[in-house]
């Protein structure tokens, strides 16, 4: 069940007389043993003082305030559980299962992990969707480029120059080979 190795402090020998006294105060002794100890207590003031100090120490623990769960604890807990399916496995493994995850991944944290997982899956799905949509439409786009009339290609190539000229006739004159010829030659 629980670990069988007691801590070093638990291995130290304890005083049998104190054990009996504590068990007596806890009502854990058999009736004959309890009666015998009660007689000794009546006769031994030192033993009686020891019993009283142990009992008073025990009683003083009642002063400890009982820590209360937060107001939302029950509702949070129940809502967490309602999404949990029943598990398989044996009972011993349930009882003795390590709790290393208890602090590292509380139920609340687990719901956070689910959120991130869902977010990741959504983003991944969107990415795949975009990729396939691109694959579906990209050929048409390439085709559109190919369908540009060949006679327009020079125009497109010199578009930047054409923008600086208002008049096409003037441009044609500039293109004349005689415009900048030496007058002597002409």
């Amino acid at each position: 069940m629980a670990d069988s190795k007691p801590p070093a402090d638990d291995k130290a020998p304890s005083d049998p007389a104190t054990e009996e006294l504590v068990a007596y105060l806890d009502g854990e002794l058999s009736p004959p043993d309890a009666e015998s100890l009660a007689t000794r207590l009546g006769l031994d003031p030192k033993l009686r003082a020891q019993a009283e100090s142990l009992q008073r120490t025990w009683d003083i623990l009642d002063i400890l305030p009982q820590p209360q769960p937060s107001a939302s604890f029950a509702s949070r807990t129940v809502s967490q559980m309602l999404v949990v399916p029943a598990a398989g496995g044996n009972v011993q493994s349930i009882l003795a299962a390590p709790a290393n995850s208890a602090l590292a991944a509380s139920p609340v944290q687990r719901s956070g992990a689910s959120f991130w997982l869902a977010s990741f899956l959504t983003i991944a799905a969107a990415g795949f969707g975009g990729y396939f949509a691109h694959q579906a439409y990209a050929p048409a786009a390439k085709l559109a480029v190919m369908e540009v009339p060949t006679e327009d290609v020079p125009l497109m190539k010199n578009l930047r120059l054409y923008r600086n000229v208002d008049d096409m006739e003037y441009l044609k004159q500039l293109d004349s080979p005689m415009l900048f010829a030496d007058p002597a030659e002409s």
Binding site: D9, Q68, F73, T77, V78, A87
Partner: protein, 220 residues
């Protein structure tokens, strides 16, 4: 799932078993009732063990999670609280061991060792400075918590189950996986240690408190 004759007899005696049997049959209302019924006791014990509310609630929630997840396999074999606190004990002790392996706060050097001043040393220091006669309840509660912190985890768990859950040695033995003899020894050591740690705050009949003597001396 049919309830056997022994289970039926136990369920008649323990209302919490009846509740858990309803939880086993996926009765959500029964689970809500179970949480409502046990939350204060469980969070209280966890808080005394780990020392803070957030961690205590995380652990308590984990206990309820395990109860619910394993509801289909529940078979009454003892009082429901014994089964319930067995889960709680294993979770809490494992969490504490895990925490001890990985200290959450940086350790500072101190004469008292790497963990700083020990609770019993703190008690001795504070006792010298503060007359316990006039100690308010909150301060006394702090002293008691410090005294509890001088116990090891198993001693503390045994004390909490005995004191606040009113469990017998046999029930504590079932919960903690020990013999009743081991529980008897564990509790004896724990109570002796508590008595020593709280000696200044527990007065015997006719015994004068040292603080009273000190104030008289100072008055002279």
């Amino acid at each position: 799932m049919a309830i056997g004759q022994t289970s039926a007899q136990m369920a008649l005696r323990d209302p919490d078993i009846r509740l858990m049997l309803r939880v086993r049959e996926d009765d959500t209302a029964a689970f809500t009732e179970l949480v409502s019924h046990y939350q204060h006791r469980l969070v209280g014990i966890m808080h005394h063990l780990v020392g803070n509310t957030e961690e205590a609630e995380d652990l308590a929630q984990e206990v309820f999670l395990r109860v619910y997840r394993n509801r289909k396999k529940y078979t009454p074999q003892a009082k429901f609280s014994t089964w319930f606190f067995t889960i709680a004990n294993n979770l809490a002790l494992n969490a504490l061991r895990n925490r001890n392996r990985k200290p959450a706060v940086p350790l500072s050097a101190s004469d008292s060792g790497p963990l700083g001043i020990r609770p019993e040393e703190q008690l001795v220091r504070d006792h010298g400075a503060t007359p316990s006669f006039g100690l308010r309840q909150a301060e006394l509660a702090d002293r008691i918590r410090s005294a509890l912190d001088t116990l090891n985890e198993r001693q503390k768990m045994a004390v909490l189950l005995n004191k606040f859950e009113d469990m017998s040695y046999l029930e504590i033995a079932d919960v903690m996986g020990l013999t009743t003899k081991a529980v008897k020894s564990l509790l004896s050591r724990a109570r002796t240690r508590l008595r020593d740690a709280l000696a200044g705050y527990v007065l015997m009949d006719g015994e004068e408190h040292p603080a009273a003597d000190e104030s008289e001396v100072e008055g002279d």
